[in-house]
């Protein structure tokens, strides 16, 4: 697929309207790569002027900072800000709530000031502006969808409605889990938990959350975070429900439902 890279664009003297920050999961995780491609495909379909940093992108430092390694975080942030400022980036869209949170809230103090948008908010705007039009025979119309709030989008940044509004555009039946919005239960990946074994306990957090999602009888668990996606997908597999229940990112749902080639 054709994805513009910042370095080439800059070499040609062009600046994109928005930089697509892919994030580590979106770049390397095989499942999350599909989300990245879906979102890039939406950008391509709409002829949005964007670019990725490509090989120049590096971890924002989120897991290091949350684990307690401030030195490593500061090093990553320093280098990323050098690159972003070097290209004169003004606006960033990202499919990862962890990247979103840290770029939006924690980079400004270090000299990185950008307008940072999470892709669910970006998609909501595009739908509102009428740029994204949902097909009449959308594959998700009439399907039962439950949305799992990402902590770093929801509680961390107060974004609860944008992802839901995007889902409503699919004419699907939106059902809420017992714990949702500000009370939404974590998937278990945040705070660098993704990168280590659980502490001793009697259950994995993603199993608890998956049980709640399955209790809604939804066909689709919609996520807005690649880490939540991994955790919920594992949970659904653990419950042997992968044939009936699919964990999909909001970008994937839109990409498959929108008008345009």
């Amino acid at each position: 697929m054709n994805v513009p890279v910042m370095a080439e664009m800059a070499a040609n003297g062009n600046t994109p309207e928005v930089l697509f920050w892919v994030g580590c999961s979106g770049s390397f995780d095989v499942r999350a790569q599909k989300i990245t491609r879906a979102f890039a495909s939406i950008l391509n379909k709409l002829n949005i002027s964007y670019a990725i940093l490509g090989k120049e992108e590096a971890c924002t430092g989120d897991p290091a900072r949350r684990a307690g390694n401030e030195f490593l975080f500061q090093m990553m942030a320093y280098n990323n800000i050098q690159i972003l400022n070097g290209y004169g980036i003004k606006k960033i869209v990202t499919t990862c709530p962890h990247c979103f949170n840290i770029l939006k809230n924690e980079y400004p103090e270090l000299g990185g000031n950008y307008e940072v948008i999470h892709h669910t908010v970006f998609l909501q705007q595009l739908i509102k502006e009428g740029k994204i039009v949902i097909k009449e025979n959308s594959p998700y119309s009439g399907k039962k969808i439950t949305y799992h709030d990402s902590c770093y989008l929801g509680r961390a940044n107060g974004i609860y409605e944008a992802p839901r509004e995007v889902l409503e555009a699919l004419s699907a039946e939106l059902v809420e889990m017992k714990r949702c919005k500000s009370k939404g239960l974590c998937c278990g990946a945040g705070g660098a938990q993704m990168f280590k074994e659980d502490e001793p306990g009697n259950k994995r957090i993603n199993i608890e959350r998956t049980e709640e999602a399955l209790a809604t009888n939804a066909n689709i668990i919609a996520a807005a975070c690649p880490f939540c996606n991994t955790m919920m997908t594992d949970g659904v597999k653990n419950k042997e429900k992968e044939a009936e229940v699919h964990v999909l990112d909001i970008a994937e749902l839109i990409e498959q439902s929108m008008v345009g080639e």
């Binding site: 390397f28 307690g68 500061q74 949170n101 103090e109 509680r155």
Partner: protein, 440 residues
Amino acid sequence: MHFIPQIIFIVLLAVGIYLFAKKVGFIKANILMGRDEIINDNKPLRWRNVLLLAFGQKKMFKNPLVAVLHFVIYAGFIIINIEVLEIILDGIFGTHRLFAQPLGIVYNFLINVFECFAVGVIIVCIIFLIRRNVLHIKRFLSNDLNGWPRSDANYILISEIILMCLFLTMNATDTILQGRNYGHYAQHITGNFLFSEHLQFIFNHLSSPQIEVVERMAWWLHIAGILAFLNYLPYSKHLHILLAFPNAYYANLEPKGKMHNMPEIQKEVLYAMQPELIPADAANETTHKFGAKDVADLSWKNLLDAYSCTECGRCTAACPANLTGKKLSPRLIMMKTRDRMEELGKRREKQVENWQSDEKSLLHNYITTEELRACTTCNACVEECPVSISPLDIILQLRRYLIMEESNAPQEWNSTFSNIENNFAPWKFSPEERDQWVNS
């Protein structure tokens, strides 16, 4: 002889207030053990938070039934304290129902309102005692509360019931004596009050001097009880009725996802990357301790948080780690922080030499690495807290100390760190492959 009750009253009041003030000083000194943090931006929003979160108890209303019940106790408690003003003045000047004459009919109205609240408080306290001790509510059954904290909660509810009963008894007996035209009671005819009227039957068979004894006892016990309660507060979780207000004012206004920056490390990294920026006197800069090991390393706001905590356990009930059987309980993080402050504070009071170093610390001796490592930083605890406490902020500062001062990380995290450092991603992928998703 005539002045003796007044003298006793003034002494009692003075001792009560003195002891309370002394304890307030102790707590203030404990909170100021914490490191400096300047919180003075956006004053209008801060006052708004005091109104909404503290006075209005906005967060409590996530569970409306409990919120209304809690509001009755709180409003009753505050409003009935207006009556305490009269009691204190009566005590000092040797008067009786000082406000009755000047306020006239308004006085009766006020006392009737107070009685409504008193009855409300009694009913709600009984409901809360049942909730805590009979109904199986997980956050009250939790082992977090074993020992003193569980008794503390019950003592508070029971003393509130006793205080309110004394208030009603006082009014009931007073109005009987008014009706009998007995002694000085006849000089302040207020007439019967809404609820205490129905308690008169308990005392009606007694002689007037006997009733006077009951009335005086209720009056004295009520005010002595209030002073005792005031002095109990600083030892109790009930301190939240005072500290919820400053804690709402100093509540975090940033998005919850934002972690505190560490400018000292930011600077160090900057100097490593751009040595030309190192100032000439950089060598003289004091070395910092990174993260928090003990209460003195936390900010004073973290310590104010700990004293504001009323151990309700909403945080722990929402904590995904705790829900799935991990050792972490955000409520315990706050309780242990307070315990550690108290321990150090007592050493300071006793003027123990080097009172700050007793070979113990908040990290390890009170809060274990296992608890800290179970946190997913999901902010559920912060979101839930009705009095604007952030257990997460403390957890993250202790984590920083573990990693940066003790190099104490699980092996997987060390690999993650080295991957981020060398491959710019938490997994062992080559940075050259970062854009491979385009082709796959």
